[in-house]
């Protein structure tokens, strides 16, 4: 027989022999248990600088937050870059009622605003991309609790609602959150308020969040008011460094608004970041187990 014939027959014979011979000892093939699990770490905290994120608290989890903003940094060293100008602080908690629904309560220094908020995670982005987006609804009821203002309880109320849509791609999360806010009596929330002050504001929150590594992330947020707006108000912009210490998430940021909820950011921010009107602030988030 020619050598060429052997060379032709050898691969075929080898294949047949391999097929006929089964291994006697084999390990299981390793497969992921939850290939369609939700994408993790889409954000590191339930809020960014001032905007809410799609991240909710699952059942049995309690998030505590302390948010601070100070005066404008353009005060220079005389005002210690705004830290001497007093802080607006919001202290709040968010408790997971269900794996997809949480309720929160908080109080802010400015106007003694007390807010009750809820977040409902309708859709979670899946690892296998069978669901490409996170989608959550949020609502909040806010009341100005300052004494001596002469408003009825109903006049002090404001409402805010938003739809948050986010997607994470390779460590970069983008979120859009169209939102609307109603103010029962604008003069209880706007400064200054006039006869032509709108009692309803619409905005579009935009967040870009990028994980540098397991410890650090950067984010930017922008909240333009669409349509009618409070005279003299400016769109809010902020930039943050996120630090994950293993127990807490710190957000250290520069932002134009000193307010800590979207309804008042849209209504009352009077500073333009791009014109150098920004302030220092930091947020602290800590999650506790309720079980």
């Amino acid at each position: 027989m020619k050598i060429g014939t052997y060379l032709f027959q050898l691969p075929a014979t080898l294949l047949i022999c391999l097929l006929l011979t089964e291994p006697s000892t084999a390990q299981l093939e390793r497969e992921r248990a939850l290939p369609d699990a939700p994408v993790d770490h889409i954000f590191w905290a339930t809020s960014n600088v001032g905007l809410n994120t799609v991240l909710g608290m699952p059942s049995g989890n309690l998030n505590s937050t302390v948010l601070h903003t100070f005066g404008l940094v353009d005060g220079g060293i005389d005002r210690f870059f705004g830290l001497d100008d007093g802080a607006n602080t919001r202290i709040g908690i968010e408790a997971g009622i269900h794996d997809r629904f949480d309720l929160g309560l908080g109080r802010m220094t400015f106007n003694n605003i007390v807010d009750l908020r809820g977040k409902w995670n309708l859709i979670r982005q899946k690892r296998d991309d069978s669901r490409p987006l996170d989608l959550a609804l949020s609502f909040s009821l806010l009341t100005n609790t300052q004494s001596g203002m002469g408003f009825d309880f109903g006049d002090r109320l404001a409402w805010h609602s938003s739809v948050m849509i986010a997607r994470k791609i390779n460590g970069l999360t983008l979120q859009l959150s169209p939102m609307i806010a109603w103010y029962n009596a604008p003069e209880a929330h706007f400064f200054p308020a006039s006869a032509d002050t709108p009692d309803r504001l619409i905005g579009l929150g935009i967040i870009a969040f990028y994980e540098l590594n397991d410890r650090f992330a950067l984010s930017g947020e922008y909240l333009p008011v669409l349509g009618d707006r409070n005279p003299g108000s400016e769109d809010t912009m902020g930039w943050a460094l996120h630090i994950d210490t293993g127990g807490h998430t710190f957000q250290i940021f520069l932002t134009s608004s000193q307010w800590h909820n979207e309804a008042h950011m849209m209504a009352n921010n009077r500073h333009n970041f791009l014109e150098g009107e920004f302030r220092f602030g930091f947020n602290i988030h800590r999650v506790f187990g309720l079980r």
Partner: protein, 233 residues
């Protein structure tokens, strides 16, 4: 056109075919021997160093067990660990422990997707996954064998000892574990508990200063393995 010798004697062609068949059979036999001697040819299949396998298989057969093609499988076994930091203890659980026992081959193979472990606090889960570097090392694995006698058909709870390789965080170590085995109808239930020192596997206990997770954590598994034909594997 036929070769000259075929034209002279057509019967020679028959002898030539017989010769070709013999050569091919010899070739096939050679390759078969080669394949048997090189188990590494199979991707994902490793020959387990198992000095007890021959004696186990012989004793298993000697105990008049019928030759069976059954392998015992689970995909929803329970695994949990209990760990602690100063003044606080927490537990992580998963019901996605996957594994098999092949009594004929005396092979035990289990793995757990570490991202299926939940401690009850989402934030702590995230930190745990980071500590374990689950993106690079998604599984905890054990592959080994029964080092003593075991009778899967016996009633009651049997104490068993297994030896093998445990891998987590990309580090593999030889371990020996004590556990129990019990027949439940057609199925087999196994349990085991042991103490895992995470520093043996290059896992840095998370924490700040002295407030750190203890090096040693208690691990417990409990799984009901159901029979499956070997051919279904």
């Amino acid at each position: 056109m036929p070769a000259r010798w075929e034209r002279i004697h057509p019967g020679l062609n028959f002898h030539r075919n017989i010769l070709k068949l013999v050569v091919q059979l010899k070739l096939c036999l050679s390759v078969l021997i080669l394949v048997i001697s090189l188990p590494g040819l199979y991707p994902g299949v490793e020959k387990i160093e198992n000095p007890a396998q021959e004696t186990f298989t012989a004793s298993y057969a000697a105990e008049t067990h019928p030759v069976t093609d059954l392998i015992y499988i689970t995909e929803n076994g329970h695994a949990e660990f209990t760990s602690s930091v100063p003044l606080h203890t927490f537990t992580g659980v998963s019901d996605y422990l996957t594994g098999m026992i092949d009594f004929e081959e005396n092979l035990i193979d289990f793995y757990l997707d570490l991202e299926s472990l939940k401690t009850g606090i989402s934030r702590r889960d995230r930190d745990m996954y980071r500590t374990l570097q689950v993106d690079e090392h998604p599984f905890a694995e054990f592959t080994g064998f029964f080092s003593g006698s075991v009778d899967p058909d016996a009633g009651g709870i049997q104490s068993v000892t297994v030896e093998g390789e445990f891998t987590i965080h990309g580090v593999t170590r030889e371990i020996s574990l004590d556990g129990t085995l019990e027949r439940e109808g057609d199925s087999i239930r196994i349990t085991a508990e042991w103490i895992l020192d995470i520093t043996d596997y290059n896992i840095e206990p998370p924490g700040i200063l002295i407030y750190r997770v203890r090096d040693e954590m208690d691990v417990r598994i409990d799984a009901l393995l159901e029979p499956r034909e070997r051919g279904e594997m």
